[in-house]
Amino acid sequence: MTYRIGIDIGGTFTDFALLKGGEVILHKNLSTPHDRSEGVMGGLATLAAGQGLSLGDFLAQCNAIVHGTTVADNTLIEMNGAVTGLLTTDGFRDEMEYRRGFKESIWDVRLEPPQPIVPRRRRLTVPERILADGSIHRELDEQAVRDACDKFRKQGVESIAIGLIFAHANGDHERRVAQIVAEEMPGVPVSLGHRILSRAPEYDRISTTVVNAYVAPRVNAYLERLVERLAQSGYPRQLMVMQASGGVMTRDYIAAAPIRVLASGPAGGVMASAHVGAAKGHSNLLCVDMGGTSYDMSVVIDGAAPAQAGWNMHHRYLVGVPMVQVETLGAGGGSICHVDKGELKVGPASAGSVPGPICYGGGGLQPTITDALLMLGILSTGEGFAGGSFRLRDEGVSEAFAAIGAQMGYGAEQAAFDCWRLVNANMTQAVRRTTAAKGIDPADMVMLAYGGNGPAFAAIQAQDLSIAHVLVPKASPTFSALGTLVAHPSIDEERSCTAPVDALDLDRLRLLWGELADNAKAHFTGAGFDAAAIQATWRLNMRYGGQNWALTFDMHESCGLDDLSFVDEDISARAITAFNARHMAEYGHIRDGELPEITGVRLAAHVATPMPPASGGFSAPMIEPAPAGHRRANLGTGFADVAIFKGPSLVPGARVAGPAIIEEIFTTIVVYPGWQAQVDDAGDYALVRLP
């Protein structure tokens, strides 16, 4: 028997998905924040025991361990990364401070600045200059680099970002600076702009490089420790790591640009969504993940969640590497309900898990959405909560909502109901904004809901968005771990190159794509994959002259990376056709008599690996189980006696008509009036709006 293991570390739990042939075994244990690799090893030992194997034998039979980590995110949240220095071109010392003028609020004059990763004293410049065409306008002053290193040493700098102007057009100076730094400050890691993000403009590239330099030592140290522990325990292969692009890649590849793991956690869930959705015949998905503090939204189009490079603001820093687009709203079970200047508000502040909602009984005094769900009867005190780990309590909940109601001029139940309505509306608007930015109408999509609180709201939100079909997978509580098993090993990189589409230098295109191909091939073969098995998608970035945002689209697909024969005399014409189609789809118009320009070439390469099974269908005989009980609940249309079902007892074919509540082990699914839930052959829930 061989195994594949997906591991995702969250704030509270470390989740495991073990793929054993066609079977998926899920496991959760507590995270170990002081050294997260401990929790990982502990969980692996439990899984091994479950298989009747020693840890060593178990790991020896593992074909792959795929890991999603939040170390980079935590480093930026806690701002405890490396003491970082930036070396940049003379004249450009302050780009990190300017942020291109961006501020997060246009109304709040008391907005605080982001905590600086590289304060001005650690932003040093060297005389040198490269121009747009890659030519050298001013030679590098090597002594200035050495002087800068001296200043960095005096300041105890531990990690250095090198971000020179137009380095993406010519990386010679950056490479030379790196050599000098290596001589002057041996052992200090360097991050080179043209390697971390090979694209214009300068702020995007330099900021990404600076953040990389800041998180790199922590991420690499963590992964190194984990790799060591795994090796000591008998794991013979490379550790694979989840990237924000939605692909996984070897630890060796990640080590060169650890920024790629930033924001990778949510990407796993999106990958799992695409996989599960496809198995059920749905290729356009709106994925919503509502947990304790946040509501994450993403979309899957034509079965894929395209990663976008560019203006990705994370933790107040611009990180331009390709990321699966996940938008976050501060709305979760812990979101606090309050009245501000006579208006009812929900969130964005959250009670978190400590003290938590009032009904957790952990000392929380402020009413939250979870408390509102309890008031509305959607949750109950009758059964164990969160996998049976504790029971909800209603002491103080009603009083808290009565206090809100007193300010609004009505009673406690109405207050709870309005909080429910409000958080619903907030989420609906957030979804609309997310899809608007992508030019998508949510009504054309199927909603896939996961996270502890997602399924409680899914159907009612779907209704607001004119969505008629909702999926709630049984595996949703460990969806991100499952996603790491779904994700393919992949490398997605680009090289900048600006030229009018009717005057392309084909040799240059071949050279740049060739560089990308060579790099990808080296990493894949290094990880033991067959070069012939590499699936390649060759892409172009294009825009009209003057546009700031380029569109990316596929030019060619191939198996293997050696054949560049698609770069032929015809490529301009094909590029224009493809660009026009995308521009029309995205913006509804194309410009008569104007030719676009290309701004870069991109290569997305991946190798297919075994997938966890997913299926759908409704071949099991339909049954209508009797409810396990009833309770008074308000599912949007006033309080009534509502049927309660126990999720674990519902078998494929089971059908539940709304209004009803299905209590799963880690989540609660609400079947709103006018909706019907059915368990499909795979044991997942399909919620359908009745005509």
Binding site: G91, R100, R421, A425, A436, R591, E594
Partner: protein
Amino acid sequence: MSFELNASLAARRAPLPTTASIDPVTANIIRGALETVCYEATTHLGRAASSPIINQSNERNAAIVDAHGRLAMGSIGTPHLTFVSQLTVRYGLMQQDHFDWGPGDVFVGNDPDHGGGHLPDYNVYAPVYDAAGDLVLIQALQAHQGDTGGKDPGGFTLDATDIFTEGLAIPCLKLVHRGEKRRDAIYLLERNNRFPSFAGDLAAMIGAVEKASASIRAILDKWGSDVVRAAVNQTIETSERQMRQLVSDWRDGSYEATVHIDHDTVGTKDVRVHVACTIAGDQLTVDLTGTDDRPDLVGVWNTFANSRGYIMTQIASTIDPDIVKNEGLFNAVEIILPEGCIAHPPPNKPAALGSFHPACEITEAVCVALSNVAPDRSAPQVYKIGMPNAVIGFDARGQMWMDQGVDCRSMDVSAVQGIDGWGSCPVALGNLLLSQAEDAESRFPVINISRELVTDSGGAGRWRGMPGSRNVKQILEPAIAMAWMVSHDHPISGLEGGEDGSPYLNHFQVGTPDEYRVELTARAQLPAGAVIAYQHGGGAGFAPALLRDPQAVCEDVLDELVSIDAARDRYGVVLTGSLADYSLAVDHAATAALRGERMAA
């Protein structure tokens, strides 16, 4: 086109007629839906437009105006545009029968004498009718155009004596009639614009506003137009109530401020803006009586709609950021703009540069006056820059290019109580993304040599203003450079005893024997290789510099934001050790002694 028209445009509007009653939560939900529509419209425009000023600088804004012409919802972009948008639409509304309004129509307006800001700000708007055929809301979208067809490319003419010098003035022009594009009208606009990218921008604006109208129509269908009317009424009333509540917490009294512009575009000195902000109970009155009204001033006329908008921009930054920005704010504030002064010009005055000055001095004066009652939220939401160095040339094919000079830089970021100035602009402008060297140099024959912060150029204060940047640029081919310099003699005002910001400076032909400082305006033909250097003004300080935490001054010196000399001379802080080896430390005894001496003096 008269003071009377302005008065009727600005007159308070009644709530929308409705029989529906609505609870506050539902009203909020509908407000959120309308806000999202605005967001969708600007997002769509930003992604589809081709001019850098729209797609890169984000100088665009969406607003929803109701059937009575009230601002129902303003969304992202810049507050300066949000609060101007309703008057252009009101003019069209007043003519709706005359101009044959109907479902599926799209209009454009930009005329300063018909409710507009300045000519470059095109306001494209579409009325939305419900199933019964009643007009309920109007979706408006504003964006700054790269050109307006006047005497000079870009729409800013330094010697303009009337609006016609500056370009095409459009009171209200129909671009789409019942869903069909009016190609003749659109071609007229395209013809009156120098830049080929304009056609794409206009198409993007029409596309975005049509898309947004369809979304509004869906909201009307979902909730019913009577309920939506009730929601709009309630959100406007709520904002007015919250605003009045806040004003009633401010200390009653009349607070005055005077701010000067160095000169107009022909050199007339010390152009004056004067404001009195009077608080009586829950009523705030902003009165610009005493503001300059010399009829021969050139270039410094701010249109009526703009003056109102810029006053409101500052007020909005002074209040709780959670109060929803809509007509309720205008209902709560009385604005007095004397006829004939530079904040309320007679018809046909040029308007382009007025959106810089006196617009920003009006904003600044309101800030200085209100800092008496709301010091914790007072920071001027301005750009004290005159006109950046616009560089214009022709490429090999004879096509004109223009580098508008909206480069990355820091300017005018004043401190606010408790927080030093930071970033590159006041928050109100935080949506405008600045141009990058690698984009500009890929497009234009220029090299950005330097754009770093200048040590000691931030206004000193207990909380320090952000230093200004010096942007040095080389022009590789012969080109024309244009600029208008102000804020040298009168830089941005410090508050509560903080120092003023640092002056703006601009030099052409830098490093040659022909180097000169541009003191007033420039329209210079520069040879290939010429270097120009623009020093942006730093932000102002807040509260006396001698009260600044000495350790913070030491940190500033380590970051070379403040020099060792300035630490001593301006902050009264004595440092020991050396900057070169990062060993600086505060000499507390010497600092206390020096500060004691200074305070006694």
